[in-house]
């Protein structure tokens, strides 16, 4: 217990000191990690906890980002309103798409979410009069929420995003440990048994879908205000696939794993691409190595190592399952 508090305090100290110590560029990468990490953690709620791998998660991220972009650049809506409006738009989109997608499970779910994601991208790409088409929406204002200090200063913006990120992570942390979170893991393991225990499992899957979309929307709103520009690649299928990659890299079914996965992708992309155009190749190698040597992801592997180091006098090792790739469930 004591060790855990030391860990939290240390983490908080590092997070607070970061923009003061590190160069601005690294602060920027950490911010991107938080934003994409939040999106990946919300996806993990579906892919890792519920066993429903969505291949269209960028749609909710992008819907929020575009809502912010359209409202602020074309309708002069103040950021304090546009920000929650983006989250609400993502939630509404997930509520509609969820009705279609949660009718299926497994690979069919994956295909439906893929199709819905591609449709949403097509809308952003083609509906130029509203979305700016290929040009996207430049000129999104900074995230001024009427606070006493200005977020034009990148350090202040860092702390604002840090607070929102921590709040969201705290909510997700509580959710995965709650009875509702437990029910999602039960559905992943045996949906039929869950129904027989009295759960309306469709409702649980649907709520999980909408919650995941809402948190992805929160990340999307943050992204729009941070990046000040939204364009179709933000909700392209490649972005959805990247979110799945983050989840698998970090460890599906662990809360902080996808955050680690997001960090790996963001840092690799930005640091390696300074040296070579073939950064995707490096990412691919990292991915293959992860799947081969740490199939439960970085967080899953670390957890296994930790368990081995502590000895397993009390708890025997987790048997067999868990090695199969997430996408196949």
């Amino acid at each position: 217990m004591g060790l855990r508090w030391v860990g939290w305090a240390l983490g908080a100290a590092v997070a607070l000191a970061l923009p003061q110590v590190l160069p601005l560029y690294f602060t920027h990468l950490v911010l991107l990690t938080m934003i994409y990490g939040l999106s990946a953690m919300s996806l993990d709620l579906l892919a890792g906890y519920t066993g429903l791998t969505s291949f269209g998660h960028a749609a909710y991220f992008g819907a929020a980002a575009y809502t912010v972009g359209i409202l602020t650049t074309q309708h002069r809506v103040p950021p304090a309103l546009a920000f929650p409006a983006g989250v609400a738009a993502a939630a509404a989109l997930a509520a509609v798409y969820g009705l279609l997608a949660t009718r299926a499970v497994g690979v069919y779910f994956l295909i439906i979410t893929l199709a819905l994601g591609m449709g949403t991208w097509g809308l952003a790409y083609r509906w130029s009069s509203v979305t700016g088409g290929d040009n996207g929406l430049p000129g999104i204002p900074p995230l001024e929420l009427g606070l006493p200090w200005s977020t034009a200063d990148p350090k202040h913006l860092y702390y604002l995003i840090l607070v929102i990120f921590c709040l969201a992570t705290f909510l997700l942390y509580r959710l995965v440990r709650s009875p509702f979170g437990l029910s999602l893991r039960g559905i992943r393991e045996s949906e039929g048994r869950m129904r027989m225990l009295g759960y309306n499992t469709w409702l649980h899957r649907y709520v999980a879908f909408v919650v995941a979309g809402t948190f992805a929307g929160l990340a999307g709103s943050l992204y729009a205000f941070y990046n000040r520009f939204v364009s179709p690649p933000d909700l392209h299928i490649a972005a959805s696939a990247e979110a799945v990659l983050m989840v698998i890299l970090g460890g599906a079914g662990t809360l902080f794993g996808p955050l680690v996965g997001a960090g790996i992708v963001v840092f690799l992309r930005n640091l390696v691409s300074a040296y070579t155009h073939r950064w995707m190749l490096i990412l691919g190698v990292v991915f293959v190595l992860t799947v081969m040597y740490a199939p439960q992801g970085v967080a899953g592997g670390a957890r296994a190592l930790w368990a081995r180091w502590r000895g397993r006098a009390v708890t025997p090792p987790v048997a067999g399952p868990g090695k199969e790739p997430v996408a196949e469930r």
Binding site: P179, S183, G186, R193, M196, L197, V211, V318, A319
Partner: protein, 250 residues
């Protein structure tokens, strides 16, 4: 005479040309222990699927304490008091023993929708789970993943999950399948010692277990009720002996 717990009327389940359950009329009174026996493919497990709502009936009706439940989904039937176990162990393999039990105790509580407080902070659900696991001698292993339990322990946890919802009608699908003789005795005593208010329907291949636990026996054959009666009546029925028990064995 006690109330009728379960009644079926001309219950049928056809898969194309295959009549898995072909017009079964059943009446089971509250507190009764009824064994369902029959050769492989007689429709026993399909009958359970129909009763629990996991498979829709082709025709016919099912009543639980007089209420027509034929069209209700399985989670609604659970809320009305049906619990079941599975022939092939159906647990949550990557969760711990306690998490398995908690899922079962949350099943019929409104707290199952709580997205904020940790599962173990729900005192009443945790207490129920602890009581059940202690009763079955599994509390010590509460933090074990399912895969580390012996097969016999997994079969017992099957029953724990079914009992957590305090069912009025318990469907046990071959609870002793694959168990050692010693483990079979444990489970048999356990089933025999259940609250007498609970109605138990038991599919069983082990005749000793079936005859030990049940007062009445229903024999299914090709989806139809071939015979029904007390243990002695069924034992003495020449037709049953011919198709199921094997002539000369008794």
């Amino acid at each position: 005479m006690s109330a009728v717990c379960l009644r079926t009327e001309k219950l049928r389940k056809h898969y194309g040309g295959l009549r898995a359950v072909d017009g079964v009329d059943l009446e089971v009174r509250q507190g009764e222990r009824r064994a369902i026996i029959g050769p492989n493919g007689a429709g026993k497990t399909t009958l359970f699927h129909l009763l629990s709502g996991e498979v829709p009936a082709t025709s016919g009706r099912i009543f639980l304490f007089g209420q027509d439940i034929t069209r209700l989904p399985s989670y609604r039937r659970t809320a009305l008091g049906i619990g079941r176990t599975y022939q092939v162990t159906n647990l949550f393999p990557r969760l711990t023993v306690l998490e398995n039990a908690l899922l079962a105790t949350f099943g019929l509580r409104r707290e199952k929708y709580d997205p904020f407080r940790a599962a173990w902070q729900h005192r009443q659900a945790l207490e129920d789970a602890r009581r059940l696991l202690e009763e079955f001698g599994l509390w010590e292993k509460r933090d074990w993943p399912i895969g580390s339990l012996s097969y016999g322990e997994q079969r017992q946890l099957e029953i724990v999950l079914a009992l957590a919802g305090r069912p009025r009608l318990l469907l046990l699908d071959e609870p002793t399948a694959g168990l050692s003789p010693a483990e079979t005795q444990v489970v048999t005593r356990l089933v025999a010692g259940l609250d007498p208010q609970i109605t138990v329907l038991l599919i069983e291949h082990d005749m000793d277990v079936a005859f030990q636990v049940a007062q009445r026996v229903t024999v299914l054959h090709f989806g139809r009720v071939l015979a029904e009666g007390t243990v002695d009546e069924v034992r003495g029925n020449p037709e049953v002996q011919a198709i199921y028990l094997g002539v000369g064995e008794l």
